[in-house]
């Protein structure tokens, strides 16, 4: 399966996804704050 294959820096995709989740959260926080600002 693709998730066990290596992604960036020879790191398996499923392990690398943790980094994506963490920085995806930062992106989500920014989007959430911007959307809420528009509502005000």
């Amino acid at each position: 399966m693709i998730i066990f294959m290596n992604g960036p820096f020879h790191c398996p995709w499923l392990t690398f996804a943790a980094v994506l989740v963490a920085f995806g959260s930062v992106l989500a926080a920014i989007i959430w704050a911007l959307l809420n600002r528009l509502e005000e």
Partner: protein
């Protein structure tokens, strides 16, 4: 200059800055309970967000998290990722706005006080304050111990010296400056933690010959155990641990108090972004711990992973900065726990539950004395902790979360959530978690899981049977 002198100088400079913050905030603090426990709800987004992160991650996360990384491999960075997503981003979005609005409207400054006013339930105030007071004290012993051990491991100092150096300073600045001192020192401490973890990560990656080399070399040792997810630990262990240390935050009074003390709802949005950015540092201890296996393949004790990496990869000056980061992690958590435990005992138990009338000045004085007393008790217990304390410590988070999490969350969102549901689910959740511990973790499941499951089911059932008729959450 000898490494010991460099370590001592860096630490002295850091501890002196904390002391100065304690004195400055003491001068600025308003002499009232809200002033002492919440900094008069005047805090901006930066200080709130980064002090949240500093209180969240203790030195146990840096040293112990690195130990997990070493033992179970790169898959453990998922723990850090869930800390960011569930423990920080979702906690701020789901709890933050409503908590700020509701606590301001009900004029409540602590979690037990919120229960009392939201549910019109003095018994919920009494019970939750009792649980918070007792179990935060136990948690603080483990945080102190973690700090003492960090000194011992990184600086070759006797454990007791580490306890003494850090313990006394924290007790002084918390008693002097109250919550303002806790958050301002926490703000400084968060930056030291972030900087020192980035420093170590850069050194580890450079030493391995780059990120790609690092992963290839680790895979060559054992791809399945140390690089793949779930790795050595397996799904059950990894997921349940990640859930506890992330979802548990939702019921931790020393962390959610950041939502009451922030200046305004508007500021809270920027705070959410900043806290999420700061929390990403949680990935680094696990990553570095896993990377240490390349350089030290056969450490007997996995808690030695981060100290070994620090000693072999950083110069004494940067090693001293890293030690300061570890100490900062422990101190900020201990200080946050101390002020919250003091608020539960003085404001919720002595003043409100036992209806003792206190002038504002007198309440602040008693709060200072109690904060200092809790710190001293924790310190004395940490000198030679009995085995029982060590056993219960692992459950401190579980028992507190099982008591507070659902009454808090439903109190914000479910209009019909009722007084009998709140109080009895607190009893059911905390007793289940404690009983599970007494039975020595049947099915190898941590007490947190049965504790919050039982309190959830109980809360929903009782609310459906006895729903609240009038409501004060909107």
């Amino acid at each position: 200059m000898s490494p010991t002198i460099i370590y001592a100088l860096v630490l002295f400079f850091y501890l002196a800055s904390l002391f100065v913050i304690g004195v400055l905030t003491s001068a600025r603090m308003k002499r009232s309970a809200e002033g002492f426990y919440l900094g008069s709800r005047s805090l901006g987004p930066w200080v709130t967000a980064f002090s949240f992160v500093a209180a969240y991650f203790s030195s146990v996360v840096i040293i112990g998290g690195g130990g997990f990384g070493y033992k179970y491999g790169m898959a453990t960075i998922w723990i850090g990722a869930t800390n960011v997503l569930i423990g920080t981003l979702l906690a701020w979005i789901v709890l933050g706005l409503r908590t700020r609005a509701l606590t301001a409207r009900l004029n409540s400054i602590t979690l037990p006080d919120l229960f009392a006013k939201r549910y019109d339930s003095p018994e919920a105030r009494f019970y939750s304050a009792l649980i918070i007071g007792i179990f935060l004290l136990i948690y603080s012993v483990s945080v102190l111990q973690g700090m003492g051990h960090s000194f011992a491991i990184l600086m070759d100092l006797p454990y007791i010296y580490g306890l003494l150096i850090s313990g006394i300073i924290i007790i002084v600045y918390v008693a002097l400056g109250g919550y303002l001192a806790v958050v301002w020192t926490g703000f400084l401490q968060a930056w030291i933690m972030i900087f020192s973890l980035l420093l170590l990560t850069a050194a580890a990656v450079a030493r391995a010959g780059g990120l790609a080399q690092l992963f290839s070399r680790l895979a060559a040792i054992d791809q399945g155990r140390f690089v793949q997810t779930p790795g050595e630990w397996g799904w059950a262990g990894l997921l349940s641990y990640a859930a506890i240390v992330s979802f548990g935050v939702w019921g931790m009074p020393q962390l959610v108090s950041r939502f009451y003390s922030i200046k305004s709802v508007k500021v809270l949005k920027l705070g959410t972004v900043l806290a999420t950015i700061g929390a990403t540092m949680a990935l680094l201890p696990y990553f570095n711990g896993a990377a240490t296996r390349l350089f030290f393949p056969d450490l007997a004790n996995s808690d030695q992973a981060i100290p070994s990496l620090v000693k072999s990869s950083l110069s004494p000056f940067f090693g001293a900065i890293f030690l300061t980061g570890v100490v900062a992690a422990g101190m900020s958590t201990f200080a946050a726990v101390l002020i919250t435990a003091a608020s539960a005992i003085v404001k919720d138990l002595i003043r409100d539950s036992f209806q003792t009338s206190l002038s504002a000045e007198r309440e602040v004085l008693i709060s200072r004395l109690v904060a200092a007393a809790i710190g001293i008790i924790a310190f004395l217990v940490a000198i030679k902790p009995p085995a029982m304390i060590l056993v219960i410590t692992g459950f401190a988070w579980a028992v507190i979360a099982a008591t507070t999490l659902w009454p808090y969350l439903f109190g914000l969102y479910w209009q019909r959530a009722s007084r009998p549901a709140a109080f009895t689910s607190m009893l059911a959740g905390s007793l289940t978690a404690l009983l599970w511990m007494a039975l020595k973790n049947p099915l190898k499941i941590h007490g947190f899981i049965p504790g919050i499951v039982v309190s959830l089911v109980w809360f929903v059932l009782i609310t459906l049977i006895f729903p609240e008729k009038r409501t004060n959450i909107q």
